[in-house]
């Protein structure tokens, strides 16, 4: 028991509390190195909460995470349903899909950057060949398309993870339920709507929560694809915190951002476990 406590204390609890605590001090580069940081109470929070860029980062984090979760879940569910059927090459296909999940982000994000380049990117070459596009279109250079691009890239890499969770859930649904539904004359859509979806609910909730937590804190994909641009359009809270700390050496306000970043998933997890407990009790 003691080694576990020491380990968790040293690697999780201490850094976490240190980071939260840092948000109540006046910490620049000098203070990090020489110490002597002053306690400033809530000043850093008041400062950050009065900045529109901070709120925008929070807002775009939620937009990014929510859209990524929705798209990841939809693609993951589609893939799981597809791979539930028995067909030749199913295992090969499953392995291929998993490549997206195991590919290092630095590779996939740069591939996306090249694919989406306005002048020499593959996507535009395709669109030009199909005569949908003339000239150049810089997907990562415009706010809305840049947000859509990072959401898509994120969903692409997380969908296999959703697929695995949901496949496991699908396997757990008793075959008898479908037989009973068929006997009652349920169409394939009705079987999906009234058997598959309700049966998948517990797994789905867990999957949604996990994917939300992963995407809400995603830094690498966005930073590599857009560096938070254009004009801060994709600067989610992790990117905002990175810039505050490592570009501008404001470790205190960066800690405000990371603290907020931590509270949202924790609140969601608590809500999730509450629901779970209620459902188990019921």
């Amino acid at each position: 028991m003691l080694p576990a406590v020491v380990f968790v204390g040293a690697t999780v609890v201490y850094p976490l509390l240190y980071s939260v605590l840092q948000s109540f001090y006046d910490v620049g580069l000098r203070e990090v190195i020489q110490g002597g940081a002053q306690w400033v109470g809530l000043d850093n929070y008041i400062d950050q909460f009065s900045r529109s860029r901070f709120w925008y980062s929070g807002f775009i984090s939620i937009v990014y995470a929510a859209s990524s979760v929705a798209l990841t879940f939809a693609i993951g569910l589609g893939l799981a349903l597809l791979l539930r059927r028995d067909f030749r090459g199913r295992n090969v296909m499953r392995a291929l899909i998993l490549v997206a999940w195991v590919l290092p982000t630095v590779v996939s994000a740069n591939v996306w950057r090249w694919l989406l380049d306005g002048s020499y990117g593959l996507l535009n070459a395709l669109l030009r060949a199909l005569e949908f596009l003339e000239g150049d279109l810089f997907w990562l250079g415009q706010q809305v398309t840049a947000i859509a691009a990072v959401v898509f890239a994120t969903a692409w890499s997380f969908a296999p993870f959703a697929m695995i969770l949901l496949s496991a859930g699908l396997q757990g649904i008793p075959k008898g339920l479908y037989e009973a539904a068929r006997i009652d004359g349920a169409s394939p859509w009705q079987q999906f709507r009234f058997v598959t979806l309700p049966q998948l609910r517990p797994v789905s909730l867990a999957a949604l929560l996990l994917i939300f937590i992963y995407t809400f804190k995603t830094f690498d994909t966005i930073f590599l694809m857009t560096a938070g641009g254009p004009g801060g359009a994709t600067a989610t809270l992790p990117v905002y915190a990175y810039n505050e700390a490592f570009e501008f050496s404001r470790f205190d306000t960066a800690s405000v951002a990371t603290t907020v970043l931590m509270i949202v998933p924790i609140a969601l997890s608590v809500a999730y476990f509450r629901t779970l407990r209620k459902e188990t009790a019921a």
């Binding site: 204390g9 609890v13 201490y14 509390l17 240190y18 605590l21 840092q22 001090y25 910490v27 620049g28 580069l29 000098r30 203070e31 990090v32 190195i33 020489q34 110490g35 002597g36 940081a37 380049d117 306005g118 002048s119 150049d136 810089f138 990562l140 250079g141 415009q142 706010q143 857009t226 560096a227 938070g228 641009g229 254009p230 004009g231 801060g232 810039n243 490592f246 570009e247 501008f248 050496s249």
Partner: protein, 417 residues
């Protein structure tokens, strides 16, 4: 029963939390470490961020020093993106190198934070500051003291493709008005897709082009909101509107911009001398040359430089200084700089620049601009703010005057004005 157990668990957790909090409070936020490097083992540790191939001539130079003097030098390469963070972490842990080769613009910040030593006593005794280009030397000065000795220099100039310019029937532009016309003419003639390529990517890197345009109009980074800054934003806006520049430059870093020059998509590009070898390697058949940047009110270019510094608390400070002094001897620089593809930071090294292309960059060094004083410490942030203004203007979400005014307010706040 459950409630009692929950209570007990909460109590344990709270005790653990408060213990850790008090630990954290005395661990680093409240008090501090006294810095300090190694304790004088006679080996000079040397940290730099020159990856392949740039690190090869540097480490060869350090090996020559060991050969000549018998003093052992231990170089360590840390990638640029991790360099400052590693230095800061090591400073907090009290384990700094004897010599750190840092980005010149970070000198002030590192000095203020106590990461590097005051070298004034050494430098005064040495007495060679007059040999250096003023702007470069100034980057090593913090509150009247010397913290960094310039290692080498680089600046920005205009790369142009001779064939594309001839095909479009334009001369090498010498003012920004001529640049706008030339860029548009190249795109219109079809000699290349775009006239001019530069980086405009999110962050400080993407502000170089608009800063150079602002400097040419007589402005400065600290007063970006003034007329020169507005004129610069308007100029780049006109160039993207005319097709003279690709609006994709907002997604290009300097390598991307150079790639569009070497593959013939752009007729001209703005970059530093370090790209000379890249163009030679990637486009061996292209006929191209380099010219000074367009000039209006001033002929300013942007300095890119590195400084030699000594880590705070170094036990081998004297040996470290001897190495720095040796590295800056004109005879040593004449051997090192051509291999390193860079320019000397001092003007008494005539043999260091024999290449005519590189000479164009060297001739501009005397006009180079670099942030100094308070602006040096906040230059990264100020440049990031300027890039945001550029982005807002090019994407059409703000008028140049409004974007410049907003940028000025943000720069003032960053500088504490």
């Amino acid at each position: 029963m459950t409630r009692k157990r929950t209570f007990r668990r909460t109590a344990v957790a709270l005790t653990a939390v408060s213990a850790t909090v008090s630990l954290a409070a005395c661990g680093g936020l409240g008090s501090g470490t006294d810095g300090g490097g190694d304790d004088g083992d006679g080996v000079v540790t040397f940290w730099h961020y020159y990856g392949d191939p740039h690190g090869v001539p540097l480490e060869a130079m350090l090996a020559r020093y060991t050969e000549e003097t018998g003093v052992e030098v231990e170089p360590r390469f840390i990638p640029y993106d991790d360099f400052n963070r590693t230095l800061q972490q090591q400073a907090a842990a009290g384990d700094l190198p004897d010599v750190a080769l840092i980005n010149a613009f970070d000198t002030s910040q590192m000095a203020q934070a106590g990461v590097i030593e005051d070298l004034s006593a050494y430098a005064d005794e040495w007495g060679e500051q007059d040999a250096y280009y003023e702007t470069g030397w100034e980057t090593g000065q913090v509150d009247g003291a010397t913290y960094g000795i310039p290692h080498l220099a680089d600046d920005y100039a205009l790369y142009y493709n001779e064939e594309i310019l001839a095909e479009a029937g334009v001369e090498v532009p010498t003012t920004w008005d001529e640049m706008e016309a030339a860029a548009a003419a190249i795109a219109e003639s079809g000699a290349a897709s775009y006239g001019l390529a530069m980086s405009g990517i999110e962050g400080a890197e993407g502000a170089t082009g608009v800063l150079l345009r602002t400097l040419a109009a007589g402005g400065d980074l600290a007063d970006f909101g003034g007329d020169p800054g507005v004129a610069a934003l308007e100029s780049l806006q006109r160039m993207t509107a005319s097709g003279g520049m690709s609006e994709g430059f907002l997604t290009w870093n300097e390598d991307d911009a150079m790639a569009s020059f070497t593959n013939g998509e752009a007729g001209m590009a703005i970059n530093s001398a370090s790209a000379v070898n890249v163009v030679r390697e990637n486009a061996p058949d292209m006929t191209w040359n380099v010219a000074p940047l367009p000039a209006d009110a001033t002929e300013a270019t942007y300095l890119s430089a590195e400084n030699l510094t000594i880590g705070a608390g170094s036990g081998d400070a004297d040996a470290a200084w001897d190495l720095i002094e040796w590295m800056q001897q004109p005879s040593v620089l004449e051997e090192y700089l051509p291999e390193r593809n860079k320019l000397p930071a001092r003007d008494d090294v005539p043999g260091a620049v024999t290449d005519p292309v590189r000479a164009v960059f060297a001739d501009q060094l005397v006009n180079s601009w670099a942030p100094t004083g308070d602006l040096a410490e906040k230059s990264n942030e100020a440049l990031t703010i300027v890039q945001q203004a550029l982005q807002a203007v090019i994407s059409g979400s703000a008028a140049p005057a409004d974007a410049a005014a907003e940028a000025q307010a943000a720069i003032d706040e960053a500088l504490g004005n």
